[in-house]
């Protein structure tokens, strides 16, 4: 198990190198003279342009720039925001817990819906619950999350004020308010993530229930709570967990829009603001962090996978 984790971590090194190169390479994409564009366009003062040029070292050869940036990046130093002049790392540190709260709430909602729905649907394929789950998940996959968010706000925050429409309260300040503020974003983000999760679990359960080892379970005189609850579910969880990893990537992405809608001061709103003002160091820093979060989650998924599927632990 430990060697598996170690091996997975080793594979990450070249991967992150490719990623860092791509992220730093974004600077090449800046239209026109990067210094002028990033300083705010043709209206920027010459002093400001010169300052940006100095700060980003734009006159150096590309690889030198990359080397310098990478050296900073591995120490979580992405330079200063062109906008606020504050270190990007500090600004990220303030916002990371917020985004983690939103994503966590979404995952919680997704599991809360997908696990029972997927199991019910998989146990009685063709039944009413199964059809409902299939229809529900088809809709869930097709509905844009931000539209869902707007509908939720209209119904549950404006028409009847059960939950706050926007904003965020840190957990440390008031746990109850924290949870209340996360309900609608969590629902908007998580309900949709649960759609493909439900389908996955259903399909996996159907396959597993047809397998020979489940027949062995029945032949041993197992009751459903043992054969299905113990034997089938552990195996059906394997593909479901794999998809969960992929899902989380999508969740991080759509979370940006959801944060924007609910005015949640997380990494998403930070990224959007940086994009609007073409604040390159912030864009780079936040993107790196998002990739790291994605990669970490997938690593966790792999570890879970190893627990569920003993075969993976050795090979």
């Amino acid at each position: 198990m430990l060697t598996m984790i170690a091996r997975r971590l080793l594979v990450l090194i070249p991967l992150l190198l490719v990623v860092s190169f791509a992220i730093f390479g974004l600077v090449v994409l800046v239209p026109g003279d990067a210094a002028i564009t990033l300083a705010g366009g043709p209206d920027a003062t010459p002093e400001r342009i010169e300052q940006v040029r100095q700060e980003l070292g734009l006159d150096d050869p590309f690889l030198v720039q990359y080397g310098r940036w990478l050296k900073g990046a591995v120490q979580f130093d992405f330079g200063n925001s062109l906008q606020s002049s504050a270190p990007v790392t500090e600004e990220i540190r303030d916002r990371l817990p917020v985004t983690l709260s939103v994503v966590g709430a979404a995952l919680f909602v997704a599991m809360l819906i997908a696990i029972p729905a997927g199991i019910m649907a998989g146990l009685r394929p063709g039944g009413i619950l199964d059809r409902l789950a299939l229809i529900g998940s088809s809709i869930g996959i097709s509905v844009p999350g931000f539209w869902m968010a707007m509908i939720l706000i209209t119904v549950f925050a404006i028409q009847r004020s059960w939950f706050p429409a926007i904003g965020y309260v840190p957990f440390g300040e008031d746990p109850v308010e924290w949870a209340k503020h996360l309900v609608l974003p969590g629902l908007a983000l998580g309900a949709l993530a649960s759609a493909s999760q439900t389908r996955q679990l259903r399909g996996a359960l159907l396959d597993v229930l047809d397998s020979n080892y489940i027949r062995t379970g029945w032949a041993k005189g197992g009751a459903p709570r043992w054969v299905i609850g113990k034997h089938a579910l552990k195996n059906a969880a394997i593909p479901a967990v794999t998809v969960l990893g992929l899902q989380t990537g999508a969740l991080l992405g759509s979370g940006v829009i959801i944060e924007q809608i609910f005015s949640i001061p997380g990494l998403g709103t930070y990224l959007v603001r940086a994009i609007q003002s073409q604040d390159l160091p912030v864009i780079q820093g936040v993107t790196v962090l998002f990739v790291l979060m994605n990669v970490t989650i997938n690593l966790l998924v792999d570890i879970t996978y190893g627990y569920l599927n003993p075969k993976v632990r050795v090979s």
Partner: protein, 670 residues
């Protein structure tokens, strides 16, 4: 070439039968037409402002109302559909343009090129999808072209991977290797062979990606990075309605609905294509009611004369009397904990009929099966594959999956109770302590996720009130019994060889010391040397524990070795039943004679192996009369005219389903 066209025609005829997918396709075609002829359809100029008439509710003139600047919503929706659709197609199209060559090259050439390309794709895939698009679009600046470019980058990696995987699979096909070996240039092989065969999943993925691209574009436009005013896409319309969410919430309904319906249609078409092209995926399945218990609907197949005639032909099933050999007596003596009446059958199968639901209706696969197993006795059930042996044995345990299987007639009496009439709970209590089963394939019959110690121990725990520790102790004893070192308690199935796994299966079956052990070809999937070991083990365990056995096999050599009595099955019926020695020395059915002649042990060196001509008829294929008639050397006209009952041959313990049995002299030698 014609092959390709045939595939498309067949896929289309399958696709047409899927109403949901057809509706979705119709919707998309309609939408496409609306987008193409937007100018002609739009009732108003989508960008014409009319501030006096802002925020109008739907009316005859503005049938979706007007927005904050008094612009006609319906016209804006139509013109936005053009923008939204165009970007989706543009993004997916250009992604394919990059991804197909990348995937083909990586998959076809492999090695360093593959490694290099795929590392880049892995890198791109480790970005959360929208984040990558946001970063690229953010740097390039807002605008529709930049948004499309950013989204293209997002879709390239997944398409490349898919294409590479397909190419790898096709590349290993024999015809491609053959083509390669006769010196066909790589480019020609790729274009002529690999591409057409690898493309199906890509087509499906394209449909799904179009929906994904539409959603992603809506997201970017919602954030203000896509379409710029005054132009609109559905996403930017939603963004605008968001500003008025507190006062004019209805504005967001229509654009959101447009996005959802379109994406739903792309997904439905994709799913429909997947089914039509026969690519495995999560698809619909027929309704399954009860897991782990075969459905019994007696009389469900009582269709007409054939069944009635068969019933008339064998009014009361004749069951041969018990044969109490010394060996059986010894075995019965081993079961000290129960009182044994050796003259009454432990199991009797009476008139068993099993049918399968097929697209053509209920199909009988096993019919008029009668046999009994007495305490301590081992009955061999022999026949070619497809003769119904496995179906019969699984029916006794009620383990055949329903649907498609159901028992349509007969009784399975186990210790005087009809297993086919019992509830799930009652059957469950029989499985394990009274009857147990060993399956053919030890590689898949054990759960890969649990240790064998766990799987053996729970077989005891499910029936006896013992704790975890005691269960582990019992598991260890059972492992020892079947010849696996007890140190392997914590081993997972994949850590064991096939033979070891079958030993573990035997341990599971023996966990509650069953009275009847059903073995369905327990050695078929194993190496020859291991087969002998497992057989020896089963024989000695049977004699030690004294249980009765139903031994299903196609190997007559095994039968001779282990069975007291034998029933031969052919095309769903028992054709002969006798004591093992009587069957071998004095077969009373032409099919049995053929099987005996085909045994390799009796073939002299240099002589050709005997083969019964023809093949086993499939269920539903056979005529009313003798099912073996068309392969039988002794068949006469009357053999095919009426159902033939299983009747006594030379003595009451020897049954045969042959009307000529009294006139023929059968034997091993021709």
């Amino acid at each position: 070439m014609s092959r390709g066209r045939g595939t498309i025609a067949r896929a289309w005829s399958r696709y047409r039968k899927n109403p949901g997918a057809m509706i979705a396709l119709g919707f998309l075609v309609l939408l496409g037409l609306v987008a193409l002829f937007a100018e002609a359809i739009m009732p108003h100029d989508p960008n014409k402002q009319d501030l006096v008439n802002a925020f109008q509710k739907p009316s005859g003139d503005h049938w979706l109302g007007t927005d904050d600047l008094g612009r006609d919503m319906a016209s804006r929706l139509i013109s936005a559909s053009r923008v939204s659709l165009r970007i989706s197609f543009q993004v997916v199209g250009s992604a394919l343009l990059f991804a197909i060559p990348i995937g083909l090259i990586a998959g076809y050439f492999g090695g360093k090129i593959d490694n290099f390309l795929m590392r880049i794709m892995d890198g791109l895939m480790s970005f959360p999808a929208l984040i990558l698009a946001l970063a690229v679009a953010g740097i390039l600046g807002p605008g529709i072209t930049n948004a499309a470019l950013a989204l293209t980058v997002v879709f390239v990696p997944s398409f490349s991977r898919l294409m590479r995987g397909q190419t790898l699979a096709v590349r290993q096909e024999t015809f491609v290797e053959a083509s390669h070996s006769i010196g066909t240039p790589s480019r020609r092989i790729i274009v002529r062979h690999v591409l057409p065969n690898a493309i199906s999943p890509v087509v499906v993925q394209t449909s799904l990606a179009l929906g994904g691209a539409l959603l992603a574009e809506a997201g970017l436009s919602f954030l203000g990075l896509g379409v710029q005013p005054p132009d609109a896409s559905w996403g930017s319309m939603l963004r605008r309605s968001y500003d008025f969410i507190f006062t004019e919430a209805w504005m967001m309904l229509i654009p959101g609905l447009a996005i959802a319906l379109t994406v739903l249609s792309f997904n439905t078409v994709g799913d429909g294509l997947r089914d039509a092209l026969g690519i495995a995926g999560v698809s619909r399945r027929e309704r399954k009611e009860r897991r782990g218990l075969t459905t019994v609907v007696r009389g469900a197949n009582g269709n007409g004369d054939a069944t009635a005639a068969a019933a008339a032909a064998s009014p009361t099933p004749t069951l041969p009397p018990p044969v109490l050999t010394e060996a059986i007596r010894e075995r019965n003596a081993k079961r000290t904990d129960e009182s044994i009446d050796a003259s009454r059958p432990l199991l009797s199968v009476e008139g068993l009929e099993v049918s399968f639901q097929t697209p053509r209706g209920l199909l009988k696969v096993v019919e008029d099966v009668n046999f009994a197993i007495f305490p301590g006795e081992t009955l061999g059930l022999v026949g070619e594959s497809g003769s119904g042996k496995t179906v019969t044995s699984l029916s006794i345990m009620r383990l055949l999956p329903s649907p498609p299987a159901r028992v349509t007639a007969g009784r399975v009496m186990l210790e005087g109770r009809d297993v086919l009439s019992l509830s799930f709970r009652e059957v469950r209590e029989l499985r394990g302590p009274t009857m147990a089963m060993i399956f053919q394939d030890p590689m898949t019959s054990l759960n890969p996720a649990f240790t064998i110690g766990n799987q053996i121990g729970e077989a005891v725990r499910w029936h006896e009130p013992i704790n975890r520790k005691q269960a582990t102790k019992r598991a260890a004893e059972l492992l020892d019994l079947v010849g696996i070192p007890t140190t392997r308690l914590g081993a997972y199935p994949h850590e064991l060889s096939g033979g070891m796994r079958q030993r573990a299966m035997i341990a599971i079956a023996l966990a509650c010391n069953p009275k009847l052990l059903i073995c369905d070809e327990p050695t078929t999937a194993l190496d020859v040397t291991i087969q002998a070991q497992i057989l020896e083990l089963m024989k000695s365990l049977r004699d030690e524990l004294g249980m009765a056995m139903l031994f299903v096999t196609h190997d007559l050599g095994v039968v001779a070795d282990i069975c007291d009595r034998v029933a031969v099955m052919y095309a769903g019926q028992i054709v002969e039943q006798a004591e093992a020695t009587a069957l071998f020395h004095n077969p009373q059915h032409p099919y049995t004679e053929g099987l005996l002649k085909a045994m390799p042990q009796d073939t002299k060196p240099g002589e050709a192996l005997y083969v019964i001509p023809g093949r086993v008829p499939s269920p539903g294929e056979h005529d009313i009369g003798c099912r073996f008639a068309n392969r039988c050397a002794y068949a006469k006209v009357e053999c095919g005219q009426q159902p033939i009952a299983l009747g006594t041959a030379d003595d009451e313990a020897h049954l045969s389903r042959c009307i000529r049995v009294h006139e023929l002299t059968l034997g091993k030698a021709p």
